[in-house]
């Protein structure tokens, strides 16, 4: 068993709150998990579940109440190991008055790079995240998406082995998100380990080797996206187009209609029968696909259950 890229053991964080800070709120409870080297690991959870808390604990921005964590086998207490880590904070914000080039150069200086090397990498990064044209403009004029890209750039500029991204897709338009996805895949192909948190489930499904689901400060499950939701399919879905009169068919009654397009779900066993029916009706079949329960449903169920439990606790007072 090789050293995992990231591992935590009973990592916990409590915050004092309330009147005179007498009460404590557990924002993270006994988190024990591993991220293996070279995998892309997604941290899923609703807002406030503890994803950012975990990441900030790993990056030593906040200190754990109890428990330990190690990155590449080294304790997180050693700041020097940050040489090999890249971090993108949630909603990044950088120095207003600097340009993108200057910001990247500034952050790069903390790594042991020669001046020439630094220059080269800064230029390469700017191109990679698509900020080549805006590199001389001061950051206070940047949009949120552009800032996100600067953040990503500074996270990977020094070619770290482990990359930690806190909500990397937030604030990006579909094009931007696609670019980030591409970068993450690139990193994976280069053998890097990527840990990112998100609440956009489709992204997690697409990118991650494994996901960990955090709700209410507790880790609810870890596994491949498929494992999380079970492999069984629930049937097939046909998307078809039909002009003119609806002809009587048991199928059509069940179809959901948008203009001249229809969508219907049927058990897998009935698939070929349905296709014949549609052929007879003169419909044009647009697509046939599997219906899988997805992460979203799994997720929603978990959140609901958690909320119910929390309410029960409140009511009973225990």
């Amino acid at each position: 068993m090789s050293t995992p890229a990231i591992e935590t053991e009973n990592l916990s964080k409590e915050y004092p709150f309330g009147f005179l800070n007498l009460k404590t709120k557990k924002s993270l409870e006994n988190l024990t998990m591993r991220v293996e080297t070279g995998e892309v690991f997604g941290f899923l959870g609703p807002n406030g579940a503890g994803k950012s808390t975990t990441i900030k604990l790993l990056m030593r921005l906040i200190f754990p109440t109890s428990g330990t964590a190690r990155i590449q086998g080294k304790s997180i207490d050693d700041v020097r190991m940050h040489q090999n880590i890249g971090y993108l904070p949630e909603q990044p914000y950088f120095y207003d008055y600097l340009t993108a080039t200057e910001v990247l150069d500034y952050f790069a200086r903390f790594h042991n790079l020669s001046a020439g090397d630094r220059r080269e990498r800064v230029a390469k990064m700017l191109q990679k995240v698509g900020l080549e044209t805006a590199k001389k403009i001061q950051l206070r004029k940047y949009s949120k998406g552009m800032l996100q890209r600067v953040g990503l750039a500074q996270a990977i500029l020094h070619d770290p082995e482990v990359v930690v991204l806190d909500e990397p897709m937030s604030g990006l338009d579909p094009l931007g998100r696609r670019e980030v996805r591409d970068i993450i895949l690139e990193l994976k192909h280069a053998g890097k380990t990527v840990l990112f948190s998100t609440h956009i489930l489709t992204d997690a499904e697409m990118l991650c080797d494994r996901v960990g689901v955090i709700v209410g400060g507790k880790l609810r499950g870890v596994g491949t996206p498929g494992e999380m939701v079970g492999i069984q399919t629930q049937g097939m879905e046909i998307l078809f187009e039909l002009h003119g009169e609806l002809q009587k068919a048991p199928l059509l009654a069940r179809a959901a209609r948008t203009g001249e397009r229809y969508r219907v779900q049927i058990p897998e066993s009935e698939l070929y029968g349905a296709i014949d029916e549609l052929k007879a009706a003169g419909a044009r079949i647009l697509s046939v696909s599997q219906v899988k329960p997805n992460l979203e449903e799994f997720f929603m169920n978990l959140v609901e259950a958690d909320r119910a439990q929390a309410n029960a606790i409140d009511v009973s007072g225990k």
Binding site: M59, I62, H82, P92, Y106
Partner: protein, 258 residues
């Protein structure tokens, strides 16, 4: 140490681009105005008024910058979360803090030096010559810079554990207390019991005695500042600043960022 320099240069750059140095324009205008006005007053004290006014302005402007920007050094980075990305780099928290400190001190030095030039220009305009004893004006300016550095350290210290507003209040408060600290040592003890008196005296030593850096009275009248005083005041400023920064680093190292 390299990291400290990196943060320091960046802090300096921020101050410059943040138009902090625009106060120099105000100062220049003030000096020019004073030089003209003073020409109307009786002969003999113009230079002392210019020197007093100039040094006072340098000191006051410097104090404002030291406190307000000093408090903002850390709080702004925490508020705006620029600190997050930075601390994820292989840089220690104390390196960050020291870098901020030196960056602002650098800024203040440049600022003060520029104002000193303005002061000498105004002095020349009024006196039409500069005598040897005028070099002590530079000594007074140097001591002011020391004072400002100590104040920056204190502002940093307070901003590490309270809100910006309170940090400003505490910094200003300790500045005022520090100015009157030496009076605690010499006050007329009539109705106070000896134990309290001794305690007050002790407090007066621990408080930062900002009056140590004040030679305005001497210099304004063309007096001489003894080298020993300058040396001791320098030691005082450096050591006290080190104490304050050590405290700030200790506090900041364990602080949970929001």
């Amino acid at each position: 140490m390299k990291n400290v320099l990196t943060v320091a240069t960046n802090t300096f750059r921020e101050a410059v681009r943040d138009r902090v140095l625009y106060n120099l324009v105000f100062f220049a205008l003030l000096m020019m105005g004073a030089a003209i006005l003073v020409g109307q007053i009786s002969i003999g004290i113009e230079s002392s008024v210019i020197v007093s006014l100039g040094l006072t302005a340098i000191s006051v402007i410097g104090i404002f910058i030291a406190i307000f920007i000093g408090v903002g050094l850390v709080s702004k980075e925490m508020d705006k979360r620029t600190l997050y990305a930075l601390l994820a780099k292989p840089v220690q928290r104390w390196e960050f803090l020291l870098g901020k400190f030196f960056g602002l001190v650098m800024t203040l030095t440049v600022n003060t030096a520029a104002m000193a030039v303005g002061l000498f220009v105004a002095l020349w305009t009024v006196k039409h010559s500069l005598t040897g004893s005028d070099v002590y004006i530079l000594v007074a300016v140097y001591l002011i810079v020391l004072k400002l550095a100590l104040l920056v350290g204190l502002a940093l210290l307070f901003s590490c554990f309270t809100t910006p507003f309170l940090a400003i209040l505490f910094s200003a408060g300790i500045y005022v207390a520090g100015v009157f600290a030496q009076n605690l040592r010499t006050m007329q003890a009539v109705d106070i019991n000896p134990a309290t008196l001794r305690m007050l005296k002790g407090v007066s030593y621990v408080l930062p005695n900002f009056e140590n850096f004040n030679v305005m009275g001497t210099v304004a009248h063309g007096g001489v500042v003894p080298g020993a005083l300058v040396w001791h005041a320098t030691l005082y400023g450096v050591i006290y600043s080190a104490v304050v920064l050590a405290g700030a680093a200790a506090i900041f190292s364990r602080r949970n960022l929001k």
